[in-house]
């Protein structure tokens, strides 16, 4: 199989576009859905997902696995996710390198981890438990962050390389997050890209951000910014068997605008028209 065939280009499935995806042949190779939105007993969410799945391969993307929790992963959550995985048969199951939960408290946000040896051990243990229950490799996304910790033992990219090596997980590289965090923390994106294991990248997220008072904020409410496109073009030659997608969560435009952005991603990756069914 040549390299062209192994690239896929897709979109995040969002409510304003449900009807488009249910009633027309949207030219994408896959859709990504937020797992938690569909981890419900029944009703329209599950029906929409079943019908979309009949038309497209699906990636499940979670926001609540809390792989960085010192308390460990929530087994009940993972069992419910496993039930969804069994039904949907996604080609990717992903979540974030962060923590969202401590004790019974859920922050509903992707909170930053200190990149310490202790945190690395906890994250790898949690990934291991998740992979055991899900019975598949997990794909873990690099976060955008607005804080760093003084007692870090390593850089984020060294942490990610060690995490992939030790746990066997793969990587969802959010190119916008790399740019946002590099700008906020003052590191070079080139160091990051050279540091992470590109051979473990299974998915790429492209999204927009906004300038906050002092920091860049990963808002997903704007088109993909030029520096992020530039970064994608720089790494495109290193990508193989990767699913590339536009992630838009707010100020959601008509579908055609997102498809135009996806076409731009295709052209930057120089892979031409999609051929995945």
């Amino acid at each position: 199989m040549d390299k062209d065939v192994r690239m896929r280009f897709g979109l995040g499935l969002r409510k304003p576009h449900y009807q488009d995806f249910l009633t027309s042949d949207v030219p994408v190779d896959f859709v990504e859905v937020i797992s938690e939105n569909f981890m419900v007993p029944g009703g329209r969410p599950r029906d929409v997902l079943r019908r979309v799945r009949e038309r497209h391969p699906v990636a499940l993307h979670g926001v609540s696995m809390s792989l960085g929790s010192a308390d460990g992963v929530d087994v009940d959550y993972l069992r419910r996710l496993k039930a969804l995985v069994d039904e949907v048969q996604p080609f990717i199951v992903s979540d974030h390198l962060c923590w969202t939960r401590t004790g019974g408290f859920n922050a509903h946000d992707l909170l930053p981890l200190p990149y310490t040896d202790e945190a690395l051990g906890i994250v790898c243990d949690n990934i291991g438990r998740a992979q055991d229950i899900l019975r598949r490799p997990l794909v873990v996304e690099n976060p955008s962050s607005y804080l760093s910790f003084d007692d870090a033992d390593m850089t984020e990219w060294a942490f990610i390389r060690a995490m992939c090596d030790r746990s066997g997980c793969d990587l969802l590289l959010d190119v916008n997050n790399v740019y946002v965090s590099a700008t906020n923390h003052g590191f070079h994106v080139a160091d990051y890209i050279e540091g992470v294991p590109m051979e473990r990248v299974r998915q790429i997220h492209l999204a927009g951000h906004m300038q906050g008072k002092e920091l860049l904020i990963d808002t997903h409410d704007h088109p993909v910014a030029d520096p992020v496109w530039t970064l994608l073009s720089l790494i495109a030659g290193d990508l193989d068997d990767v699913a590339v997608m536009i992630e838009r969560d707010d100020n959601i435009p008509p579908l055609n605008e997102l498809l135009a952005e996806l076409d731009h991603a295709r052209s930057l990756c120089s892979y031409g028209a999609p051929i995945w069914a």
Binding site: P41, R44, A70, T102, G104, H108, P114, S148, F149, L215
Partner: protein, 255 residues
């Protein structure tokens, strides 16, 4: 600093902006703290606004946000699920509504209705009993059960009429108190959430169908109230009405 201690201090700062907690965090640069604080509160407020749109429309955004902020502050140790389910449920049941709107009982009933509609929207699927099924109904032994989405509310006001007017952006009726509490059933037919005010004899029977009730027992109860002829006629009418509304589930492997 160990990870568990860091996460506990971060949590304490998020929920209460406790300065002592944030001082213990080994932060080199604190500029990003407000981003996480805003995200935390914004996510929870967004969850409540999405869950209670007509309640917000009825009391106004300013009053809604004030009461939501107090709820978020009060729930510092709440166990909140990923979908915020417990927080949403707690919001509609709090005494705070009655304290904030002592002369507006329709407000708490609007919130209760919106919570019930949200729960019905994602409730377990079930195949409904159809008119066709009734033709082969075992009238002596068949057990009648409600669909899993069915839930009951007790209303002292016309909150459901207010909800309908708000939802259709029509003219809202004045809130009216009823002499006695009426029962409202909320359920999902196919993918559409519905609600209906019940007549007194329906309200006495329908909740019992949550755990199943044989048609024979249902007839007995109505015959006891109305006499043989009228009781049996009423039982048949109610069964037809509930079936047409999609309130009953087809007996099967899950029944």
């Amino acid at each position: 600093m160990g990870l568990r201690a860091l996460q506990e201090d971060f949590r304490a700062w998020l929920v209460s902006e406790d300065e002592g907690s944030v001082q213990r965090l080994p932060l080199g640069d604190r500029r990003g703290l407000p981003v996480y604080q805003n995200n935390y509160r914004g996510q929870l407020l967004g969850c409540l606004e999405e869950s209670y749109p007509q309640t917000q429309a009825w009391i106004g955004s300013e009053a809604f946000r004030a009461i939501a902020a107090r709820h978020i502050d009060a729930c510092r140790r709440c166990v909140w699920t990923a979908q915020g389910t417990n927080m949403r449920k707690g919001f509609s049941r709090q005494r705070r509504w009655r304290q904030s709107f002592p002369d507006d009982p329709e407000v708490v009933e609007l919130a209760a209705l919106e919570l019930a509609l949200g729960e019905a929207f994602i409730a377990e699927d079930a195949e409904p009993l159809t008119q066709e099924d009734l033709r082969s109904f075992d009238w002596d032994h068949a057990e009648i059960r409600l669909v899993p989405s069915a839930a009951f509310l007790s209303f002292h006001t016309n909150a459901e009429d207010i909800w309908c007017a708000l939802d259709s952006e029509g003219a809202c009726p004045q809130p009216v108190m009823t002499a006695q509490a009426d029962t409202i059933v909320v359920w999902r037919q196919d993918f559409v959430c519905c609600f209906q005010r019940l007549e007194a004899d329906e309200a006495a029977l329908l909740p019992a169908l949550s755990i199943g009730l044989s048609f024979a027992v249902m007839c007995e109860r109505l015959v006891g109230q109305l006499g043989v002829s009228e009781g049996i006629e009423r039982a048949g009418a109610l069964l037809a009405r509930w079936t047409q509304a999609g309130l009953l589930r087809r007996p099967g492997r899950d029944a």
